[in-house]
């Protein structure tokens, strides 16, 4: 018997809300939304954790410009506080090396980190999910009972088609969906908004394609000054808190 699963509830007990930022497709800006949402909530005075679960392609550390953090142990692993966030990522252990993990390995690493990470008291834990509808999302829904999802798409129907499947999956599993963010918007079409409402989900906002975001990667101060961050901060203020 694997004892680790039995202790996960206890590890997450003192966290107010657990929000997974997810998308059916990669490249829609999910990690940027997750990181910016965590930073925006923290700037509002909340205690926030950020958990990068995109084990094979982690990027939240690059977005925040984090290098060489020191882990602390206190009857478990205490996430280091960086940029005012309690921050956990597999890069704390693998550095910038490639970690090619198959489904069962991803599940095992996820269970390990959930079982040994001591988040303590947080108002919010924001989780940056890997793209797609596979082991990580199913494991998280199974193991983290209070999880809620915030889903990111682009205006592309290719991205939205997968998002629709993800929404239906979460609805079938009776997992709360906070809503959908349409990122990288370059026109005024209402297709995604209407499609979201048709699914019975909430359309949170559209975020214009912001060239300044790429220039701000690695610089949190610059990132929070972008139009992109302003839009995500509005969601943090009106839809999350």
């Amino acid at each position: 018997m694997d004892p680790r699963i039995t202790v996960i509830d206890e590890r997450l007990r003192r966290i107010g809300r657990i929000v997974a930022v997810s998308s059916g497709k990669g490249g829609v800006g999910k990690s940027l939304v997750a990181t910016t949402l965590a930073l925006a909530l923290s700037r509002k005075g909340y205690n926030v954790g950020l958990f990068d679960l995109d084990f094979t392609s982690p990027s939240t550390h690059l977005i925040m410009g984090i290098k060489n953090v020191q882990l602390k142990e206190d009857k478990g692993i205490v996430p280091p506080v960086v940029k005012s966030l309690a921050y956990m990522s597999l890069v704390h252990f693998s550095g910038d090396r490639l970690a090619p993990l198959r489904g069962a390995d991803i599940s095992n690493a996820l269970i390990e980190l959930l079982a040994v990470t001591k988040w303590g008291k947080l108002d919010f834990l924001i989780i940056d999910m890997p793209p797609g509808i596979s082991d990580a999302i199913l494991d998280l829904v199974r193991l983290v009972k209070r999880i809620e999802f915030l889903i990111v798409t682009t205006p592309s129907l290719l991205a939205f088609e997968t998002v629709k499947k993800q929404v239906r999956l979460l609805q079938d599993l009776k997992v709360p969906i906070i809503g959908i963010v349409e990122n990288m918007k370059t026109n005024s079409a209402k297709t995604i908004k209407q499609g979201t409402e048709k699914l019975g989900a909430k359309f949170l906002t559209d975020v214009p394609y912001d060239l300044k975001v790429e220039e701000a990667i690695g610089d949190v101060k610059k990132l929070l000054e972008t139009v992109f961050a302003q839009k995500i901060s509005e969601i943090a203020a009106s839809k999350i808190t």
Partner: protein
């Protein structure tokens, strides 16, 4: 101490099994510790003794080490994990999350990072004995 977090998980799991199986008295718990995670047996034993519930005070906790077998998915080669071939930082990273081994270890025969941990990954409860 990472071992404490694992000990806490073991005690919680044992408690759940005792309740589920309606055991009146717990006699023996056998815990297997895979070499890959390099859990310190003495620290784990101490943590278990400190966290142990009064109800389990007469139970024996046995901790047994298990060899770690790795199997290459590319060429089929099977080999045993050897802690002595790793530097301190790498060993510590694998200690925290054994799957990180995929970032540091390659098949000694074909150099592929695509291998499976066939046996001896982490910590598991192998056997529980009690009286109903």
């Amino acid at each position: 101490m990472h071992e404490w977090a694992l000990a806490e998980a073991i005690i919680t799991a044992v408690k759940q099994i005792v309740e589920k199986e309606k055991l009146r008295e717990l006699r023996e718990v056998t815990i297997k510790v895979g070499e890959l995670q390099q859990v310190e047996k003495d620290i784990l034993r101490f943590a278990l003794s400190q966290l142990n519930l009064v109800a389990f005070k007469n139970a024996q906790f046995h901790i047994k080490k298990a060899k770690t077998t790795l199997k290459c998915r590319a060429c089929g080669n099977t080999w045993l994990f050897n802690r002595n071939k790793l530097d301190e930082d790498t060993a510590e990273a694998i200690h925290f999350v054994p799957e990180v081994a995929h970032a540091y270890i390659r098949c000694p025969k074909c150099n592929s990072p695509d291998f499976e941990i066939s046996e001896g990954r982490g910590v598991w409860i192998e056997n529980i004995r009690g009286v109903r």
